[in-house]
């Protein structure tokens, strides 16, 4: 079938009087790239090109479907506050009706920040009012994004509700080269295969973290498995290097988790670097560095049922 129309900038403009089969109304045969530009975009635009950008990340996510990619342009840099932020509380719904064996039509969406330097400090940031991103869809991927959650409850909240089958935010979630400041990543409850890699987590300006630390993964209501936290940095706030609670807390049962290659900055005497207390937490804590002279297992590092090996502090290998 051939359509007559005017071609311009890679798009075909067609007179509305032309009728065609529904099957021709494709956007793309494969993943669709969407574009967000908080300065020049408009949510009434299609979002399907750099010059047709949405203004908000939420608008692009609402429009996107399974496997799509959303590119986000950073806002202007302002002296004293850094890059302006997309002030949004974003929700990513499951997509579809939910239920066992029902397709989640919002799965596999990628949200990717653009930054010349590949330093997420200089890329697009989301400022959370209550929850920066609440994700129910499985296999959501975030790359090069900053999250500012100084006054929020969570920067990112992955929801999973087990056999109810309407929330799968932690299943296959991946997060790469992101910066999170303030109340961090909360995962509840359970799920399979979340992966956090090469990210940086800061506490709030005053060193507190809203009670959840950098990462709180709760498996109390539903079991979790195969969590990976790799090659990431955990730091304090602007005026103190101490978090108020553990950087990473895993409430059991979590099976075969891997916490590897991370750097943890100093904590106060009554806090933990990692709190994975509970025999039903299993997995490995390996090749991490802890910025303390001589950390003590079950005091600074609760490994629960996990094993630890190859971990160093400033005094040498952790035993």
């Amino acid at each position: 079938m051939y359509l007559r129309g005017m071609k311009r900038d890679g798009q075909v403009l067609i007179n509305e009087n032309i009728k065609f089969a529904k099957s021709v109304l494709f956007k793309d045969l494969w993943a669709v790239p969407w574009f967000v530009d908080g300065v020049n975009g408009s949510d009434s635009s299609s979002g399907l090109g750099a010059d047709l950008s949405k203004a908000t990340i939420q608008a692009a996510i609402s429009a996107a479907g399974r496997g799509d990619v959303i590119y986000v342009r950073p806002l202007a840099y302002k002296i004293g506050t850094g890059f302006n932020r997309y002030t949004e509380d974003i929700t990513v719904i499951l997509g579809g009706a939910g239920g066992s064996a029902v397709e989640a039509t919002k799965s596999d969406i990628s949200l990717i920040g653009i930054t010349e330097s590949r330093n997420p400090e200089f890329g697009p940031r989301i400022k959370a009012t209550t929850i920066g991103m609440q994700i129910d869809a499985p296999a959501f991927h975030i790359e090069n994004m900053g999250f500012y959650a100084e006054d929020a409850t969570y920067a990112i909240y992955l929801r999973n509700n087990g056999a109810t089958y309407t929330q799968r935010g932690s299943d296959g979630f991946t997060m790469y080269n992101c910066v999170v400041k303030g109340s961090g990543l909360y995962i509840a409850s359970g799920g399979d295969g979340a992966r956090i890699e090469k990210c940086r987590f800061h506490t709030k300006y005053d060193g507190t973290s809203g009670g959840i630390g950098a990462i709180l993964y709760s498996c109390s209501a539903n079991p979790g498995t195969r969590l990976q936290i790799l090659n990431s940095i955990f730091q304090g706030g602007n005026v103190t290097e101490q978090p108020a609670t553990a950087y990473i807390t895993i409430l059991p049962p979590m099976t075969v988790a891997l916490i590897k290659g991370n750097t943890f900055f100093k904590i106060p005497a009554d806090a933990h670097y990692i709190n994975a207390a509970g025999a039903s937490n299993t997995g490995a804590i390996v090749d991490n560095f802890f910025a303390d002279a001589d950390i003590v297992l079950e005091t600074d590092l609760h490994i629960g049922g996990m094993v630890q090996a190859g971990n160093f502090d400033t005094g040498g290998i952790v035993v």
Partner: protein
Amino acid sequence: MANIIIKKPGNFGKTRSEQEENLRKGWGATITDEQLDKMKFLEKKAKEQLGSTHNFLTAVDADKVE
């Protein structure tokens, strides 16, 4: 008269590396040059071994290439 706009398939790039190169013409980069090279390598392998010409890789995939 109102116009209906149909986006051509693959217009912005069928792979991450093609999309990356288009992004760099305007907005900026999302990965390093080294990661871009690695992605091209992976995409070439996918085309050779699977016949796949449309795919989307993440930076995590690129880092797996040594």
